[in-house]
Amino acid sequence: MTNRRRAAGPLLVIALSSIALAVLDASGQSFWQGLVINLGLFIILTVSLNLTSGFTGVFSLGQIGFMALGAYVAAILTLPLQEKAAYLPDLPSWIAGIHLDQLIGSIPAGFLVATVIAAALACVVAWLVGRVLMRLSGHFVAVATLGFLVIVRVVLFNADSFTRGSRTFSNVTPYTNLWWTAAWALLAVYVVWRIKRSPYGRDMFAQREDRVAAQAIGIRVMDPRLLAFVVGAFFSAVAGSLYAHFITSFSPTVFYFDLTFRVITMLVIGGMGSVSGSVLGAIFIVGLSEALRRVEDSTLLYGLSSIVLAVIFIVVITVRRDGLLGQREVPLDRLFDPAFWRRQGRPMDTAPERDQSP
């Protein structure tokens, strides 16, 4: 099958989504726009957690810590000078002078630069932390990364001169819109999908399935794990920056366990190891949460949505541990492959793709 034909399916989906986004953008329906941005953020988070944890089996509970890092670093960087002087008077002078609020035409280039800087910083932290923590496995890495999350939270609460401590960090310019979110989400999905089909991705899955066997045939354990951790941290921080410039005011309490658990739910329901599964899991849970939130608001039964999500989670773990798709993908790349449609009764590609054409 030609590359052009393989690309046709995904491109069709991207084109249709772009048209839908353009319609939504023009409609001025701020509720639906907000919901779609929220969905985009969760897609980025779930896909990056899938890379970090689903691909490698090294379960990280610290991902939201990187998100928090991205949110605070990017927000501090884009804050205009006067606001910075008013809200963060104790910033060290070399940071206080930075203000990435420049526009090129109508494009907030400063926001893009700030997001990339924040994400790069998250990568450095992830590399340092990962070199130590990726040696652990199973429960222990989960709890050690949870420790990382707690440490980030304690630092956010106490580093007053950078984060305003427990007070709300506000007056962030609302740069995040549908297009920024969609573009970053697309990039995250593409990068993670490419990693899955790359030799690195195969190493990740191999050491996840059987570490000793993988090591015995010369597959490194540390390198693929670290790569997954660092790239996952990059996109989590991007999601953090997008979140900060979307919600415009936030405090450290947001970046804690509830959010972590929500992303994990999306990942497990979609299938650990499936990129398209993560996207579907995010769509399902964001949609369901929104519907349940409305029920909560009208019946005043607060807590109901979390209860329903927890029950769904327990049922999925008990009955169908692989989630919706397991490691498989929705075969978008074979949408225009006549041979695929001739085969009956196999809507998903059950075997991993062998073809490695670039």
């Binding site: 652990l136 440490i151 609460f157």
Partner: protein, 324 residues
């Protein structure tokens, strides 16, 4: 100075025995099932709510405590039956995640119940007379609840030791923790042993929940999260899956926390002329008073160091650590 040290030691012993009570429950379940039950902290929360409601209904402490313990044990057993038994033997991480979901369920179930009962999310804990006030011995004054916590911890852990060393059920529990399959082969009923571990863990968590709430003065549906993290650290430091290790780890953690709090800002606290100025500057630089608010971070850094350097903990078995 001596009074200050003694007071801090009592604080450490009190905190340590609460951590130990919690950590033992985690360790017993982990020893048998290799499950880190993060919902264990929520049992503590359930106990606190049961205590608030029975004390609020005008029941005396002697009646409220049994109601609280029995109710919490029932929740603990239900949790095992519904959420953990069906996935027994699943990969470690699946069980861990399931316990997070159980925790969410208990927290939000409590939230929903209190809302339906017309109560606020944050409830002041009505400290019973027997647990409030202070005890003073000469110049030393300590809150009564701290002393009660330490004594209660000591008594309950002593009873637990008798149980696991002197009774058949206790011995089968240790056998199951040693080797689950072999224990099954010699006729030990695993379901009964697991249920016992959950029941004992829940009962200890209930007592810890009551004492913790008296110390905190208020309760909310999410109060179990930090204590279960601390209990987990205690269990890891002591050696995961080992009951004596969990107790030891609890007290080590209690002392560590008090030490961090007490050492923070020590450079400013020392009397004039007691140390050379260079030492004082050094202390002010490396142990600033702001360190106290970083206590939880310090504790987790210790946890990570233990996991890396000695994953089997102080008393644990070598095979408890699933490491490279």
């Amino acid at each position: 100075m001596t009074d200050y040290v003694i007071q801090q030691v009592v604080n450490a012993l009190s905190a340590g025995s609460l951590y130990a009570l919690m950590a033992v429950g985690l360790a017993m379940v982990f020893g048998i099932l290799r499950l880190i039950n993060f919902a264990h902290g929520d049992l503590m929360m359930i106990a606190a709510y049961l205590a608030v409601f029975s004390l609020g209904a005008g029941l005396p402490l002697e009646v409220a405590v049994p109601i609280m313990v029995i109710g919490t044990v029932a929740v603990g057993l239900l949790m095992e039956r519904i959420a953990y038994r069906p996935i027994r033997g699943a990969p470690d991480v699946a069980m861990l995640l399931s316990s997070f979901a159980v925790g969410q369920l208990l927290q939000n179930g409590t939230l929903l119940t209190t809302r339906l009962a017309g109560k606020p999310t944050l409830i002041a804990f009505p400290s019973p007379e027997q647990l409030s006030g202070i005890i003073s011995l000469g110049a030393i004054t300590v809150p009564r609840v701290n002393v009660v916590s330490f004594v209660a911890g000591l008594v309950l852990l002593g009873l637990l030791t008798l149980f696991v060393t002197r009774t058949t059920l206790g011995l089968s529990m240790r056998a199951a923790a040693e080797d689950l399959k072999a224990a099954q082969l010699v006729g030990i009923k695993v379901n009964r042993v697991v249920a016992t571990a959950f029941a004992i863990g829940a009962a200890l968590a209930a007592v810890a929940g009551l004492l913790y709430s008296v110390q905190a003065g208020q309760i909310n549906p999410y109060m179990g999260f930090t204590p279960v993290l601390k209990a987990f650290i205690a269990a890891v430091i002591g050696g995961f899956g080992s009951i004596p290790g969990a107790v030891l780890g609890g007290f080590v953690l209690g002392f560590l926390e008090v030490l961090v709090t007490a050492l923070a800002g020590i450079g400013d606290l020392l009397p004039q002329g007691s140390v050379p100025p260079e030492v004082r500057t050094f202390l002010q630089q490396w142990l600033p008073s702001a360190l106290a608010s970083y206590r939880d971070a310090v504790v987790f850094i210790v946890l990570i160091l233990v996991l890396l350097a000695r994953p089997q903990g102080i008393l644990g078995r070598r095979d408890a650590g699933d490491l490279e």
